[in-house]
């Protein structure tokens, strides 16, 4: 596969701190690449460097193998969808979408047909003369994406474009964006702090923390096989325990919970178990499973996301366990004691 974008040892220093530290990655042509990080992780700075709005302190940005050093934003084959969309409020939908094409001095007929095609693609045909201020959040979103995509960029950069939408619409736009990307085949580089957005849409996700990439992987691997403690704690819900000691094959958490299963040889500091990795009432004598008893403190009902907050017997550790909403576990109430198991491979130690 061709790498359309390559970032080489990129760093960005501001006066007193470093926003991006020695980041190195490549994005395949036609891929959907997400950079996931909390606010202040440096992801927006990284995106702005790729777009050309900020200068790198060290390293290089290569697009189709060509260095972007000294090339201003308007000359780069990338376009950006801003966090707040930055639609031009004094223009209608058509004027917004055709703004970039007009700057290229194309003839009017070409512009018209390109804009029509793009409005059609994002489902906004017939909205030409609407003022952008009269549109709904989702429609404004589509105008912003159409305005950038109509430029036919090599790479489309998206800076948390779904951030301002309400939850329902966000879920919808997530699917729509992924389908749109598949359909047109443009490479997307997507910045977000919302792990669900990153996991649902991307082919590859980079987790960024304090200016560095912790892990670059497929969403599945990121979730199943986190490589660092930060990724394990940041991506998805998880139970985290501080470790006290490791003797023989048995490890003990600070709260006094003993487990025999851990997947590493080193002496770890922290241990992570996902709520859904815990098996309620496991069959006896299954290989590789640690079994223990817990008492249910509260049931945190949240539909398909319902969890049990429990106390592990013989320790002070609290453990969140996913509770599938099916008939099998209908009778579970607060105060019950449950037998719970966890597979050795699902206990992640770092």
């Amino acid at each position: 596969m061709n790498n359309i974008l390559a970032i080489k040892n990129l760093s960005k220093h501001f006066d007193d701190f470093t926003a991006v530290k020695n980041v190195d990655f490549a994005v395949e042509e036609g891929g959907f690449f997400s950079i996931l990080g909390s606010s202040g992780s440096g992801k927006t700075t990284l995106l702005r460097i790729i777009a050309g709005f900020q200068q790198e302190s060290a390293g290089d940005v290569l697009i189709r193998g060509q260095s972007m050093k000294g090339i201003p934003p308007e000359k780069r084959p990338v376009n950006i969808v801003f966090q707040n969309l930055a639609l031009f409020p004094m223009m209608n939908v058509r004027e917004n979408v055709s703004f970039g094409l007009k700057r290229q001095k194309l003839n009017n007929a070409d512009i018209k047909s390109k804009v029509n095609e793009m409005l059609e693609r994002v489902g906004l045909n017939g909205f030409d003369n609407k003022k952008v201020t009269d549109l709904s959040g989702g429609q404004r979103q589509r105008v912003a994406i159409a305005r950038s995509l109509v430029m036919n960029p090599s790479i489309l950069l998206l800076d948390e474009p779904l951030g301002a939408l309400d939850r329902k619409l966000r879920e919808h736009m997530k699917v729509e964006l992924k389908l749109l990307q598949k359909e047109i085949g443009t490479t997307f580089v997507y910045i977000t702090h919302d792990q669900s957005e990153a996991l649902v849409m991307s082919d590859k996700v980079a987790v960024m923390h304090e200016g560095e990439f912790e892990q670059i992987d497929t969403p599945h691997n990121l979730y199943k096989n986190p490589q660092t403690a930060f990724v394990a704690g940041f991506v998805g819900d998880t139970n985290r325990f501080q470790l006290q000691s490791k003797e023989g094959g048995v490890i003990m958490t600070k709260g006094g919970w003993k487990l025999s299963s851990c997947n590493l040889d080193i002496t770890p500091e922290a241990l992570f178990i996902r709520p859904e990795a815990l098996i309620i009432n496991p069959a006896a004598n299954v290989a590789g499973i640690d079994q223990f008893e817990v008492t249910i403190k509260t049931i945190l009902f949240d539909g398909s996301n319902t969890k049990l907050s429990t106390l592990v017997h013989g320790s002070r550790e609290e453990l969140l366990i996913s509770l599938p909403q099916n008939a099998q576990f209908e009778g579970i109430v607060e105060g019950n004691t449950l037998n719970v198991g966890v597979h050795r491979d699902d206990v992640k130690c770092f």
């Binding site: 777009a51 709005f53 201003p72 934003p73 308007e74 376009n79 950006i80 801003f82 966090q83 707040n84 930055a86 031009f88 409020p89 004094m90 703004f99 970039g100 700057r103 290229q104 305005r147 950038s148 430029m151």
Partner: protein, 287 residues
């Protein structure tokens, strides 16, 4: 019901000063002027209703030439005020750091503190034949004879511009302040040149501020007396001077009242045309 009644009383108490202000200072004097502009002294020394004051205006070239010149120059000064202050407003809101911006803002306000008369005299000291600028130019040897700058249209325009500039800066700044910087970046990202960004994005965005600034500047300039009189000298031919002359030199108050009304009609209709041309609404500009 009780609350609503109480609210009404408070409402009327609050509106009374405004009403007194409007009625005693605006409605009554204007009504008075309006009536007296239609009164002419007949042969017997009695006041009679007549259009004579207005006919007088149109039958003397000097009057309506002054009228037209005042209008053209006031529009010109307004345009100049925009050209001069827009970069300043842009710099203060979008480029300068917050600390620098507030200091520079203070500098902009200083002329307002000392009053128009003092700044006008300041310009006289600068622009006069024996003023600082001529003194300097002769001193360095660029010119041999002083350039005649004072008591010309040039010095008048400078004075008018200087005293009205600030009223353009402030509304434009407040319009630009609400503009998101990412609009500029988005335009840049889409391949727009600096010129296109300014003319297609920044200026249209600031348009309500520009128009409201322009209305204030235009009104101030067209009704100004000091700068045209002191800096423009005898040939300035500013319409306010004609009004002044009717009231205080020839004591023809009725003619003066007619001139006053003509000026009001002139300025109002120019603003109306400007609003129509720029596609702005007065309510929007005023807010």
């Amino acid at each position: 019901m009780e609350i609503k009644k109480g609210f009404n009383v408070t409402f009327y108490l609050l509106i009374i000063p405004v009403l007194i202000w409007l009625i005693t200072l605006i409605v009554i004097p204007h009504g008075e002027l309006f009536i007296s502009s239609f009164l002419v002294e007949d042969d017997l020394g009695e006041m009679v209703f007549s259009l004579g004051n207005y006919i007088e205006f149109f039958s003397h070239q000097i009057y309506w030439m002054t009228f037209v010149k005042t209008a053209i120059y006031a529009i010109g000064v307004t345009v100049l005020a925009f050209i001069v202050t827009f970069p300043i407003a842009f710099y203060l809101t979008k480029v300068a750091s917050r600390k620098n911006a507030s200091f520079l803002m203070l500098l902009l306000l200083v002329p307002l503190w000392v009053g128009e008369l003092v700044t006008v005299y300041g310009w006289m000291v600068l622009l006069g034949d024996h003023g600082i600028i001529n003194h300097f130019l002769i001193g360095v040897g660029i010119i041999d004879e002083p350039i005649n700058m004072l008591y010309t249209n040039f010095s008048m325009v400078i004075g008018l511009l200087y005293m009205s500039m600030l009223f353009m800066v402030l509304p434009v700044m407040s319009a630009l302040e609400s503009m998101d910087d990412s609009l500029i970046e988005a335009a840049c990202d889409l391949g727009a040149s600096k010129w296109v960004i300014f003319t297609r994005i920044v200026i249209p965005y600031a348009m309500p501020g520009i128009v409201s600034g322009a209305i204030i500047v235009f009104m101030l300039v067209i009704g100004d007396y000091l700068a045209p009189n002191l800096l423009g000298g005898k040939n300035s031919l500013w319409f306010t001077e004609q009004i002044y002359n009717e009231f205080l030199s020839t004591f023809n108050w009725n003619e003066g009242a007619a001139f006053g009304f003509l000026l009001l009609i002139l300025s109002s209709s120019i603003i109306w045309v400007a609003l129509k041309l720029s596609g702005q609404k007065l309510e929007k500009v005023g807010s």
